[in-house]
């Protein structure tokens, strides 16, 4: 398992299959086998997709429809009363904007810090750059759980509870991004950078005019993974915010759950739609890049 990290395009999952000799005919038994495989595939698709469809449909059902026996699949009308109920129970617009802002800022800064750090480690000749990279690498191995209590008391003592910087700053350092960017930078043609140096380009200029344009797929992949992680992050934002002005969407969602004793499923499903649809859209549009990033640090034969 060599980590060919520089290969950040999508794993060749969608490449057309190699041409097979035409003479190979499928025996009758294989047709049966194929039918079986289609059934299993259909079952998998249903198991994975039905819950999401169910959530979407439920978000438009009123209580009568949700608690009707036997089960009612489609709502009578696609009305938005559950969404209205969500927005009158919690300031969901504010939370949505908080989430969008924090996600973009967090992912953007992570990519920026990672690029700068990786460039320095690869291209600037100082004696301790290996040691700096080791610091980054080992940070990858330290689980977030062990940091929450000390970080919480630090943020609390700074008076940063219920602030954006309190949510944002502790997670900013990029270990994963720096690692991937470094692996990628190592694969870049060194002659380009030497020529730029001869032309008198500064390191800053070399980073932005040469290294970054040659790394777009890696940057996209790291950026996307960071977006997904920041958007879905729950534990830390939940610990540092109890104020709806700074709260993010996933935290607000649990607030809705504990609103009253009985579960108002229609309302809850409307809120889960608001939380999940942005990531589903990003995923559907950019899935190849996202997949590339996920498999890059990991495998490939």
């Amino acid at each position: 398992m060599s980590t060919t990290v520089e290969r950040t395009r999508a794993p060749q999952t969608d490449r057309p299959p190699p041409a097979r000799p035409a003479a190979r005919r499928r025996p009758f038994r294989d047709a049966h086998l194929d039918a079986g495989f289609y059934l299993i595939m259909l079952a998998s698709i249903l198991v994975m997709a039905v819950p999401l469809v169910w959530m979407f449909l439920a978000s438009f059902k009123d209580n009568g429809e949700i608690y009707s026996m036997p089960l009612q699949w489609l709502p009578d009308a696609f009305a938005f009363f559950n969404y209205e109920q969500v927005s009158s129970s919690i300031p969901i617009e504010r939370m949505f904007l908080n989430s969008v802002g924090l996600t973009i800022a967090g992912a953007g800064l992570k990519v920026f810090l990672g690029l700068c750090c990786a460039y320095a480690v690869v291209f600037i000749d100082v004696p301790f750059r290996k040691a700096v990279f080791v610091v980054v690498l080992f940070a990858l191995l330290i689980p977030g759980q062990i940091t929450i209590i000390p970080n919480y008391s630090l943020i609390a003592s700074l008076g940063w509870l219920n602030t954006y910087q309190g949510i944002l700053v502790p997670g900013l350092a990029s270990a994963f991004g720096t690692f991937l960017f470094r692996q990628h930078f190592l694969s870049l043609p060194i002659s380009v950078f030497e020529a730029a140096q001869v032309d008198g380009a500064s390191h800053w200029r070399r980073l932005w005019k040469f290294a970054v344009p040659m790394s777009v797929p890696t940057i996209a992949a790291v950026g996307l993974i960071s977006l997904v992680n920041e958007w879905n992050d729950y534990l830390w934002p939940m610990l540092v915010t109890d104020n709806t002005d700074t709260m993010t969407l996933p935290v607000g969602l649990t607030l809705l759950q504990s609103l009253d004793g009985m579960q108002a499923w229609g309302v809850l499903m409307a809120a889960t739609v608001v939380v999940t649809v942005p990531m589903l859209l990003i995923f559907l549009v950019l899935q190849r890049r996202l997949v590339a990033g996920l498999t890059a640090g990991a495998v490939t034969g």
Partner: protein, 293 residues
């Protein structure tokens, strides 16, 4: 020459400094502090702390809840890791076949992985609702009663395991799929020429070649299983009667609900040591397989 070295040092500090400083402040410092906190009798938010040496650890090891918590953690890890690997490999093999519509299937299978754990937990709570849920209706259709998923002891944990698998199996399938692409077709063809059955080819050619991928997945899924939090928080909050409280969840409850920050830090340190051992095994194995160029 010397000025140039100094300039290099300056620009290196400017570029790498912020990232490294953040790592030192928010990752390395808390790591060390956590060891220190674990030796304190200290409540979250309180300014009074007393040094008590290893008493928190002794308390943890003698606590009657500890076997339950560790049992739950172990069960959850074995079920989620084993389930994800087996189902993920099966899905990958299926989706690696040239079937019509496999592209859609890949997308659908992987989609839950990018969704918020909290939202996924809520969604499935609704599906598991013992009276009005989709699942109880389906079970009713085949003549079975729905278990009381929310309130009865083994079912709550089983419920979370099912949801965890639903959310994470796509990731495992994806990595396996990437691994399968790396299995050279001519090796399979050669095996077929030698008269090996499909099953035999899979057992003797494909599976061994997937070994490193499996090992990577084993480690990463164990780590993520031991650290999972969102689903438990959304679905059971550790209950009923602590039956879904894993070691990770215990850290949260002790640190932020009971407020025993010293004790929670001891739990965190124990979790860290477990994760460290797993990671060390991985590194030892990986250094033979991976070249950090």
């Amino acid at each position: 020459m010397k000025r140039r070295r100094l300039r290099n040092l300056g620009i290196f500090a400017l570029l790498a400094g912020p990232n490294v400083a953040l790592l030192l402040i928010f990752v390395y410092r808390p790591l060390l502090l956590s060891f220190y906190y674990s030796m304190l009798q200290w409540n979250m938010g309180s300014s009074v702390a007393r040094f008590i040496g290893f008493d928190n650890y002794i308390a943890w090891f003698t606590d009657p809840d500890t076997p339950t918590v560790m049992g739950t953690t172990f069960l959850f890890a074995v079920a989620t890791v084993g389930g994800a690997l087996v189902l993920g490999l099966a899905l990958a093999l299926l989706l690696n076949r040239r079937l019509w519509g496999r592209g859609i299937a890949r997308t659908v299978v992987f989609a839950p992985y990018v969704l918020s754990g909290i939202a996924v937990g809520m969604l499935w709570l609704y599906i598991f609702d013992p009276r009005y849920g989709l699942l109880s209706t389906l079970l009713g259709a085949i003549g079975m009663d729905s278990p009381e998923w929310y309130t009865s002891s083994p079912w709550a944990l089983i419920m979370i395991i099912i949801v965890y698998l639903w959310k994470h199996v796509g990731y495992v399938a994806l990595i396996y799929l990437a691994g399968l692409q790396g299995v050279p077709q001519d090796l399979r063809d050669a095996a077929a020429l030698d008269g090996a059955t499909k099953l035999r080819t899979f057992g003797s050619v494909v599976l061994p070649l997937l070994g490193p991928v499996t090992f990577f997945l084993l480690i990463t899924t164990i780590l993520s299983s031991l650290q999972s939090f969102d689903l438990i928080k959304a679905m059971t909050d550790g209950g009923p009667l602590g039956s879904t409280t894993t070691l990770m969840y215990q850290i949260y409850i002790e640190g932020f609900q009971t407020g025993r920050a010293g004790y929670a830090s001891a739990s965190a340190t124990i979790l860290f040591i477990i994760l460290l051992v797993i990671t060390a095994v991985q590194l030892k194995y990986m250094e033979k397989k991976v070249h950090y160029s």
